[in-house]
């Protein structure tokens, strides 16, 4: 217990970074997943191969990129391939081990919606759409979902099933960690200071909790320092 002050968002990123210890390669999008993967390379796993769907394999960005196609990704990558090659030779055949995905809605089976809220033809909110997610989620060995923990995100029924959840091994939120068990996402860890009840209140489906819910290790000084240093670049 470090006694350091941090936000739950910071811890979410740090927990995601920890999940990449010992992994060989990770497929990442922009935002928190990118931050977590760069943090993993700084703290836990300097050899981690970062793969962005823009075609950059083995990118080593110094800053968290704003887009998945920033110049620094191409300039530091081990190889840069076309988008068709990325999906057909690298993602599809399962050459990338872990994928970080986000979503607007998650159901109890870790299926994801990133397409629409409301009816497809008359959506209340039109979301960006599938992007690479459907094939990334079935191509990569393990999927880690990173999402905010609200009743709007964790829902019983998706408005649109964009992406299948079978390979999801972990959902990391700002409140805790869910893992699949017995066919449904189950709460396995809460962040320090968060109660199981509080997580349930923020989950839109009946959430099971494992018999021994862990408390996430708070950020170490090294983790927190590295994260803040990374975001200040």
């Amino acid at each position: 217990m470090s006694g350091l002050e941090y936000t739950n968002g910071e811890l979410q990123t740090i927990v995601a970074a920890r999940s990449l210890a010992g992994k060989r390669s990770c497929f990442i999008g922009v935002g928190r997943p990118s931050t977590a993967a760069l943090l993993a390379r700084m703290v836990h796993n300097p050899a981690l191969v970062l793969v962005y769907e823009s075609g950059t394999i083995g990118a080593k960005p110094y800053r968290v990129p704003l887009s998945i196609g920033d110049g620094e990704l191409a300039q530091t990558a081990d190889l840069v391939v076309s988008v068709p090659e990325m999906f057909n030779y690298w993602i599809g055949p399962g050459r990338v081990q872990v994928a970080f995905l986000g979503a607007a809605q998650i159901d109890p089976h870790a299926n994801l919606n990133s397409t629409v809220i409301g009816d497809y033809d008359r959506p209340r909110t039109r979301l960006p759409g599938a992007g690479g997610a459907p094939e990334i989620a079935t191509g990569c060995e393990e999927v880690v979902v990173i999402a905010p923990h609200t009743t709007r995100t964790f829902v019983d029924h998706l408005d649109f099933k964009t992406t299948r959840g079978e390979r999801t091994t972990m959902v990391i939120t700002d409140l805790g960690v869910l893992e699949p068990a017995g066919g449904a996402l189950t709460l396995t860890a809460v962040h320090p200071g968060v109660s199981v009840e509080q997580v349930r209140e923020n989950t839109g489906f009946e959430l099971r909790a494992s018999d021994s819910v862990r408390v996430s290790e708070p950020p170490s000084g090294e983790e927190l320092h590295a994260l803040r240093e990374l975001l200040s670049r």
């Binding site: 191409a74 057909n88 909110t125 960006p128 599938a130 992406t163």
Partner: protein, 283 residues
Amino acid sequence: MQPVRTLAAEGGGLRHVAQIVSLSEAVAETVRDGVSLALEGFTHLIPFAAGHEVLRQGRRELELIRMTPDILYDQMVGVGAARKLVFSYGGNPGVGSLHRFRDAVEHGWPRAIEVEEHSHAGMANRYVAGAAKLPFAVMRGYAGTDLVEHTQVATVRCPFTGEELAAVPALRPDVAIVHAQESDRDGNVQLWGIPGVQKEAVLAAGRAVVTVERIVDRLELKPGGVVIPGWVIDFVAHAPGGSLPSYALGVTERDNDFYREWDVISRDREHFQGWMREQGLLR
């Protein structure tokens, strides 16, 4: 710059040698109201200048095709230039929503828009099939998602293993426009950095235009260089800075601030229209 040798078009899908013309000529010659138009560039090398020229020329009823609509298609959809949008990810990368795209889909403003969406893998393979002039491509994907009911995808069975796979129809845009770092005076083009699906888009399209940062006497092959010969391109146009606020690796830098600023400009209909008018992109 002057026009280079032009051979008469003959059958068999063979094209003229590329003509080097102004951007306005290139767009006027190829982009008519109602065409299907692919402006490609995956984050990198997005052909903004060409898209803006399409708007300046007042084109409407377009079927706009792009894996990642980005700010450019938000602008084109926002002024009502598109009848249909074919895409796989309609967000402002790293920032959030494309507000004009959302407004068109959610509220039909300034007009209703037809949407056909795919996954990235699906769109990429559709371009691959188009470039190969095959009617479809085979892939693993779509199965078990709601995309199946809402887009053009079918299944084929492997005649050797019996496995059922997804089939996506070839993309064959009437016109494709991409941006590249350079061409030579015969219209041979080279781009480097993230190559996206630009080569496929050019080869899949009925007519192809490439805008370039510079025209050089002779192409020197660069590390990572993708060369597209002039004889599969119709027009090359000199458009320095033509992919800003996206970028051309080694020539211009991505204007990340503008990507953030767009979130503010585009959020409000009037603010958006005012900005577009100022830029000469809306009359």
